[in-house]
């Protein structure tokens, strides 16, 4: 069975640009969540979607947005990129609310 897949794996953007990251959950998983991990820190929660509805939002500015599609895949969008947005962006899926989380390999975003 395929795990959580994320694309692209690496991305280099310039300050002020926009970026879209994509995630496909494990088949049968209806919950997708997004995390930002900067070097030396644990992942920080950005968004959770369950059954295509936003169920949680972390302490991130409005430049960050996300959505979940009818096939449960998800996109994370970041507008007006800042240097501080450089990080590993992780997507995780779960069967339901209180279920084990399974992570993708992440998208490494570099903002120059």
């Amino acid at each position: 069975d395929a795990g959580v897949t994320q694309s692209p794996t690496h991305l280099i953007k310039t300050r002020g640009q926009h970026v879209t990251l994509r995630c496909s959950p494990i088949s049968g998983h209806k919950s997708v969540s997004w995390y930002q991990q900067v070097l030396g820190q644990g992942p920080q929660f950005i968004f959770q979607y369950y059954e295509k509805e936003e169920r949680g939002r972390g302490n991130f500015p409005d430049r960050f947005s996300a959505r979940q599609f009818p096939n449960y895949s998800s996109e994370l969008n970041v507008n007006a990129l800042l240097l501080g947005d450089s990080a590993l962006y992780l997507c995780a899926s779960a069967q339901g609310y209180n279920s084990p989380l399974h992570f993708g390999n992440g998208t490494r975003l570099t903002v120059t």
């Binding site: 644990g42 209180n98 992570f103």
Partner: protein, 106 residues
Amino acid sequence: GIQVEQSPPDLILQEGANSTLRCNFSDSVNNLQWFHQNPWGQLINLFYIPSGTKQNGRLSATTVATERYSSLYISSSQTTDSGVYFCAVDDSTLTFGKGTMLLVSP
């Protein structure tokens, strides 16, 4: 928000040694999960353990929710156990600790 503290922050072991990693949290939680992040950045779910004890091969985990802590025990460590171990607690959103960086040398 909830605070999650992991100890020790760093740990160096000889292959074959045993170790215990600790996770303390500041409030009651819905569940707790342990993850291993390998040197390539991949996060692997080790345990989903809101309470009680679970074992998986050389690894075992115990969560005592009433005392707000969880422990991860690694026996007969191998070099492939190297990486960062995170605990994450769920009190509506998942909050990760800062991790324990483990290096197992041959």
